[in-house]
Symmetry: C2
Subunit: 301 residues, 2 copies
């Protein structure tokens, strides 16, 4: 079934201990849609500027992504420059130019309105809610957010949280949002705000989901080299939502598989800069790593 | 089969956001042996002072622990005072009095020399090596260590590491010992120093084992309240070694189960101060939580 993502398309300039990449295609909607395209048809709503050329569009089209919702506005695309050092757990932002993204007002093409699966990537919660209301019948609506909105626009964020089924959120942000350190209590507090499924992203420690009363933990794949963590969270969400949309099965059992597919896709994403690894995967590679996650986590009772 | 632990018995004074406990029985050998006693017969080698009374000995005897190796020396027992605040990930030491522990020279009773399973809790690596050499035929020798020895006595530590099969170590210490941040590479570097099994303790993120080329990750049990993290690592080791000694099965398959039993026991240990929870467990409680770990981690392929 078809999956819609609304979020940013950006050009990133990144420096990590493994090297540097300038002006490469990035943004949450990009990482999400390219990743999810390995599982299900994907549609994207985002805004780009004059600097977004045919070669960038090709990245989406090569993966069969529907770009009818990719709006072109005069000016430059969203640009972000950052550097990671040491343990690479956190990006240090060097420069943010919102450019055309500053006035982004997501327009959902008529042909997108019957999408059953919707991912609201990290944008202003008011815009997320606006989009969510345009797809009132969606079977599964998930959202991401960040500290900026938790601190800056808590009322808007709460309204959006109350309207979705699932949220993916960083560990620190989950604690900030809930106002408590204990993760289990924090997740329960976030569930009370609306989403029945709260997925907490813990960086190199993996992810943990709280679905009703069920808790499921997946470690991160123990890579020998992480070249660029940018987009790991959106790649996780792309694998997660991609698998759910592909199977149409929202049971706890299948959500667990989706959590693992998300972890698989995040592990590939960080192996190289930007989309270098993610844009060139094969389904057998994905399945092989999925089985490696089983070997990493399973034991006999 | 019988399991020997050599390490500290201490009196701890602890303050956490959940309360305070003064002069309670603690120490690595105590936490380890009480925990392991749920799985297999345990013998302990440690030193205590005049302040160690019948009521303290009873804690060991109530769990059937052999205390022939518990040496009594004139003076006070090892005392440690610490406080945990905020996320309780690290203890702030308020006071350390080594007392009789300062001159501790482990004496292994003749009746202990045929123990097949040996755990060298965190003491000076020279003492660990001395003990290890007195049990040359042991089937499985595991050790713990800490930053103090990694920095202060690296040559002694390397000699001890070269003589054991398994090491349990904190994440930060593994990185310090290996001189590299990436955990997979750090574990491989530690394996090259001797132990074929490197188990990295990651606090609230659980544990990960590197056994030859096999990697296995177990999350921590997501408790709603952690009252006192003291002894979590030694309780983990007690469950791990206890299960291995009980079963006599050193296969990867059984090591995984042992990792989970260790995680189960650590999760109980932190639910209350000192040994309050650990000393009063039942085997059905342990098995119930073991199954909860399966539910926490398993997915269908």
């Amino acid at each position: 079934m078809s999956l819609l993502v609304v979020g940013s398309v950006a050009f990133d300039s990144l420096r990590t201990p493994y090297g540097e990449a300038k002006h490469i295609l990035g943004g949450a909607a990009t990482h999400f849609s390219v990743t999810a395209s390995y599982f299900t048809p994907v549609k994207v709503v985002a805004v780009v500027g004059d600097d977004f050329g045919e070669e960038h569009l090709k990245v989406f089209h090569d993966r069969g992504i529907d770009t009818e919702g990719l709006e072109r506005a005069p000016g430059k695309s969203f640009r972000w420059a950052a550097e990671y050092s040491g343990d690479m757990n956190e990006a240090r932002t060097l420069d943010t130019q919102l450019n055309v993204f500053e006035q982004f007002s997501p327009k959902i093409p008529a042909a997108y309105r019957d999408c059953d699966y919707l991912f609201l990537a990290n944008i202003h919660p008011k815009l997320q809610l606006d989009v969510r209301r345009q797809l009132p019948e969606a079977r599964l609506v998930a959202m991401d957010t960040m500290n900026f909105w938790i601190k800056g626009t808590p009322e808007d964020l709460n309204a959006t949280l109350a309207s979705v089924h699932m949220v993916t959120i960083n560990e620190t942000e989950a604690r900030m949002l809930a106002g408590c350190h204990n993760l289990r209590k924090a997740a329960q507090a976030v569930q009370k705000l609306g989403p029945n499924v709260v997925i907490v992203k813990r960086g190199e420690y993996g992810v943990i989901s709280f679905h009703g009363n069920s808790i499921f933990s997946v470690p991160a794949y123990p890579l020998e080299d992480v070249h660029d963590p940018t987009g790991a969270g959106d790649s996780f969400a792309g694998g997660l939502m991609g698998h759910l949309a592909q199977t149409g099965d929202l049971s706890e059992r299948n959500l667990r598989r989706a959590m693992v597919y998300g972890s698989v896709m995040a592990s590939f994403a960080v192996e190289d800069f930007g989309l270098r690894r993610t844009a060139r995967l094969t389904r057998p590679e994905i399945e092989t790593r999925f089985r490696e996650f089983k070997s990493l986590t399973h034991f006999d009772v």
